[in-house]
């Protein structure tokens, strides 16, 4: 082999080895420095200072910060840490750098508002973020919807929710739902039907599969919360009529009280307990349910939200 060919072979081999080893080392560095970048970037916490430092490239910097916020939330959600202290500052910086970045308000509020483990459990910060979004994007009716939703779902402040929906309904081109939601908030805020309408609106309004899956899970939970008391009431009537609790749903069906075996929204049969209580077969698949939870059931640390088919 010529010396030059030998050098080519050796250099090529070394190049490949160095490349492979550098990737492995980099992955190791990533595990050592987990979250370090975020902690470091937040040494500058003032959005105004950052905006000046970006030298006019604030759009790009906003995209970078938005990515960091998503990564931060995703990592903590996945690791079930329940700690999201950097989330609000990251979102604040993102939206200050680019106040028109609607996605940061919509998803950001969705990350911040729900209680842990579904979110960061910071509805107040979610309200602040969304209000800031509305101030900068007053023609975007979706932000009013998000605001009303946070007041309704996470703060149970139905008056404020009604106000938000009302404000949104006045925006030209707003979805007609907003008017209806504003009216419902005023009279039937705590009703299951109102809740169902809100989650349906969320499901139909969002293109994101995660948000839609979450809305679908809530809609299924609402269905269970409606089914279980109704079935328990029928069991109770059977008890009053016969003096004993029905041994199964078959007895209720034979008594003509139900048309057949009742199933939950996922198609799994409900279980009738000896004392007339009704529980779901697999509560893990039905997060957010308030009724029909088996005795002694411990929910998983993170709600299991089934993907949308």
């Amino acid at each position: 082999m010529k010396p030059s060919s030998r050098i080519t072979v050796i250099a090529s081999g070394m190049l490949v080895v160095c490349l492979a080893a550098s990737v492995v080392t980099l992955r190791k560095i990533d595990t050592i420095r987990k979250g370090a970048t975020l902690e470091e970037v937040l040494y500058i916490t003032s959005p105004k200072v950052l905006k000046r430092l970006s030298l006019g490239y604030n759009g790009l910097l906003a995209d970078i910060y938005w990515t960091r916020a998503v990564q931060y939330f995703g990592r903590n959600f996945h690791d079930e840490t329940g700690k999201y202290t950097l989330l609000a500052p990251l979102l604040e910086i993102t939206t200050a750098l680019d106040p028109q970045l609607i996605v940061a308000y919509e998803y950001g509020a969705n990350f911040l508002a729900p209680a842990v483990p579904g979110g960061a459990g910071m509805p107040e910060q979610a309200i602040e973020l969304t209000e800031y979004g509305i101030r900068n994007n007053p023609d975007n009716w979706r932000l009013y919807y998000d605001l009303g939703f946070i007041y309704y779902q996470d703060l149970k402040d139905y008056k404020k929710a009604a106000e938000a929906f009302e404000r949104g309904s006045e925006v030209p081109g707003a979805h007609p739902w907003l008017k209806l939601l504003a009216a419902l908030m005023a009279e039937h805020a705590g009703d299951i039907q109102t809740s169902r309408l809100l989650w349906t609106a969320t499901y139909e309004n969002s293109a994101d599969k995660n948000i839609r899956a979450n809305a679908a899970a809530h809609l299924r939970a609402l269905q269970v919360d409606q089914d279980v008391p109704a079935l328990e009431e029928l069991a109770s009537k059977y008890h009053e009529r016969t003096g004993h609790w029905p041994g199964s749903f078959r007895e209720l069906a034979e008594a003509g009280m139900i048309p057949g075996m009742p199933v939950d929204p996922l198609g799994k049969p409900y279980k009738l307990m000896a004392d007339g209580r009704v529980v779901v077969g697999d509560p893990d698949d039905l997060p957010f349910i308030q009724k029909g939870i088996p005795e002694g059931y411990k929910p998983p640390p993170k709600p299991k939200v089934l993907p949308i088919e």
Binding site: T8, A11, M14, S22
Partner: protein, 258 residues
């Protein structure tokens, strides 16, 4: 072989000194002394922070600029002045020439960084009146900066082995900027899907990861740097510089110098 590489390296160092590269130290000294005197008068309680941040940032930027602008001329200047033919007509192999040039410039930058480090510590002593135990982490930050220089120098040499000085400078500087956002790039890649994800991940691992070598902020806040990171960063920088040098050798071996 070692002697030949050593000669080329020492000549490169001497040439850099002759080219008044170390004159940047005067600008650095002025900057540090100015900052040290002024910061105490215009700010409250962040004198140490400013001196560390400013000093280390200046060390890094001055060094990167030197690495790029000297690095891109290491090969092309020798060709332009026809001195390369004299060197290669002797029993010096092309790869030895590349490796020697690399060590010469790396040595220049290390010496430059050493003097700048003295400047940083002098300014720190001036504003704080005494050193703290946590100031030792500044040495780690300086070491990481030198590792950064190794990567940038090897990249400048790689581009210099096949491209014009202007384009080499653009390529090297672009990679320096991209490398400073390497972790974000990997974040973007993680959010992509399908083929785009593979391509983005590949690109993210191919560009130099300079963000992990930048611990200026944390040492300015007196935060320690883990020994694991020091080791991993050292290995990474050597591997990456080695990879770029191999690329430079491969290209330069096949380059038609007639």
């Amino acid at each position: 072989m070692k002697a030949r590489i050593g000669h080329i390296a020492s000549n490169t160092f001497r040439e850099a000194v002759r080219d008044r590269v170390l004159y940047n130290l005067i600008a650095f000294a002025l900057l540090m002394s100015g900052a040290a005197i002024l910061v105490g008068q215009i700010s409250i309680d962040i004198e140490r922070l400013v001196v560390v941040n400013l000093g280390l940032t200046a060390v890094s930027l001055f060094g990167v600029v030197i690495a790029i602008f000297i690095g891109i001329g290491l090969v092309s200047k020798e060709i332009e002045k026809k001195t390369l033919y004299t060197v290669l007509s002797r029993p010096v192999r092309r790869w030895e020439f590349i490796v020697g040039k690399f060590f010469g410039l790396a040595g220049t930058l290390a010496v430059n960084t050493f003097f700048m480090a003295i400047g940083v510590f002098a300014a720190l002593l001036y504003v704080s009146h005494q050193f703290q135990a946590s100031d030792g982490w500044i040495l780690v930050a300086l070491y990481f900066i030198v590792l950064q220089f190794l990567i940038v120098t090897s990249l400048a040499l790689l581009f210099s082995s096949f491209s014009s000085p202007l384009l080499s400078a653009v390529f090297a500087f672009s990679l320096f900027i991209i490398g400073s956002f390497a972790e974000d790039l990997r974040g973007f890649a993680a959010m992509a899907h399908g083929l785009g994800r593979w391509l983005a991940t590949g690109a993210a691992y191919l560009v130099p990861n300079l963000s992990a070598l930048n611990v200026i902020n944390s040492v300015a806040h007196a935060q320690p740097v883990s020994s694991q990171l020091i080791l991993a960063n050292s290995v990474y920088a050597l591997l990456y510089a080695g990879m770029a040098l191999c690329g430079a050798v491969l290209i330069f071996e096949r380059r038609d110098l007639k």
